[in-house]
Amino acid sequence: MKALVCVKRVIDYNVKPRVKADGTGVDLANVKMSMNPFDEIAVEEAIRLKEKGVVTEIVAVSVGPQKAQETLRTALAMGADRAILVMTDDEMEPLAVAKIVKAIADEEAPGIIITGKQAIDDDNNQVGQMIAALLGRPQGTFANEITVEGDAIVVKREVDGGLETVKLAAPAIVTTDLRLNEPRYASLPNIMKAKNKPMAQKTPADYGVDTTPRLKTLKVVEPPVRVAGIKVPDVDALVAKLKEMGIPA
């Protein structure tokens, strides 16, 4: 089966985001950007499924600015076969992204679509589930383990109480959680090879998707800051502090 993998270019997870002084958003000028960490896990999983002979071709998709090319090149260097950049400088909400991916899936007919569970910039946790809804296909969210058994995709999911397993009829959408795998680093030869892998350039209009935002961002502010408190010299002082709070009860 063919695998479609969604990758988003986001602020690097090591960077501490700064809110813009005018309250319109987060300052991304001159900030290190990377592939969303959950999407690295998605790409890695597709590659492992290909190495197992389950997946035949991996198509990486990104919706975003021209620079999202770099993110797609990373996916290609890791092992994806080709890429589709849906170019736009507009803010893309999950619903719009999902509609675009749905349209691509209609053309490409993948057996599995893998997305991250959450983009670490907007923390929405929506796109995978929305793609599944729009395609009328099943979803295995927060995957800890994926096994393909014929036409069935079995997904072990990380849920609040522990783990849960569901069986999905392919084609299906899977969203990755942290323990699914450890993504590989692209080797230098593979980075070179990725330069020659095909990358199609499209726009949302090519898929007939109206990307007008449904949510208006009225303002973005810093959260209330916590100030550092005191340091106590030893355990006895900590026990005394706890006693003041009535602990243990």
């Binding site: 619903l95 589930q129 990380e158 959680d177 942290l178 961002t217 502010v221 340091k231 106590v232 026990v239």
Partner: protein, 309 residues
């Protein structure tokens, strides 16, 4: 406005996560509930007693036993024909179902709200809680997930809701439930615990985590949490993870042991009332948010603390 609240339950009783959602919904208008499950009539009766609740829609059908999104979403969509907003807790169940509903209704979901600012205006955290956005929806209907720690819990008594059975929509045939491995624990659940003791990578391995953290938690009657590093290394199961992509907690006291305080971890616990940190590195970022810090080797300090409590 008429709201429809997803009741989180295990077919036997209402889960706490529901109560904060009821509070959020009551700020928007009339509160109706949806209890979808199998053999869950008792849940509906319990839900009807939650303060402020009007109607409880009860969809009692085997296809809803495990809250499969493929089966549940069409049911919610049908009920949304006569409701204006669908609200679910930002639990793994809510996060699984709500976006599927939103896409079917062609609306943009508002994830993880912290407050209700107006009929269609909400605040929500972005960038691991390093920024708070105020957003206004332009959609005709609202689909919302609610951060449990941001709203008070509605009282579990005093309500006089009426239970009304709704017919199931059948099996989608797209997915099936195979099984679950749910941790059984006598300890307080993380998201409702008053005190949490969390351990990080410094705890070395599963045995050491257990030997050092568990006795302290027992003394304090605390729930147990962990950093991602501790979970990834297999010290404790995945459902212990606190953080941006794990559980969001806000207990009275959060005790971080051998946790550095990465922004992804802080995102899950920095709304705790009192934060206490034990770390051997006096420059660890966790101390920048800790009310009380103790610098030193956890392997001597924690057993000493446990002994002296």
């Amino acid at each position: 406005m008429k709201t429809l609240v997803w009741v989180e339950h295990d077919n036997a009783s209402v889960k706490d996560a529901t109560l904060a959602v009821v509070t959020a919904a009551s700020k928007l208008g009339e509160v109706h509930l949806l209890v979808a499950g199998s053999g869950c009539a008792a849940v509906a009766d319990e839900a009807a007693r939650i303060e402020g609740v009007g109607k409880v829609h009860l969809a009692d059908d085997v296809v809803y036993a495990n809250a499969l999104a493929e089966n549940v979403a069409p049911l919610v969509v049908e009920l949304m024909g006569h409701h204006d907003a669908f609200l679910a807790p930002a639990t793994t169940t809510g996060k699984n179902i709500a976006p599927r509903v939103a896409a079917l209704l062609d609306v943009m979901q508002i994830s993880d709200i912290l407050s209700v600012e107006g009929e269609k205006t909400f605040t929500r955290p972005i960038y691991a809680g390093n920024a708070i956005a105020t957003v206004e929806s332009t959609d005709a209907k609202l689909v919302i997930t609610v951060r449990g720690t941001a709203f008070a819990k509605a009282a579990t008594s005093g309500g006089a809701g009426t239970v009304e059975a709704v017919a199931g929509k059948g099996d989608s045939g797209l997915s099936s439930f195979v099984g679950s491995e749910l941790a059984k624990s006598e300890r307080p659940e993380l998201t409702s615990a008053k005190i949490i003791v969390s351990g990080g990578r410094a705890l070395k391995d599963a045995e050491t985590f257990k030997a050092v953290i568990f006795p302290l938690a027992d003394k304090l009657g605390a729930g147990i949490g962990a950093s991602r590093a501790a979970v990834d290394a297999g010290y404790v199961p995945n459902d212990y993870q606190v953080g941006q992509t794990g559980k969001i907690v806000a207990p009275q006291v959060y005790l971080a042991v051998g946790i550095s305080g990465a922004i992804q971890h802080l995102a899950g616990m920095k709304d705790s009332k009192v934060i206490i940190a034990i770390n051997k590195d006096e420059d660890a970022p966790i101390f920048q948010v800790a009310d009380i810090g103790l610098v030193g080797d956890l392997f001597t300090l924690v057993p000493e603390l446990t002994g002296k409590l």
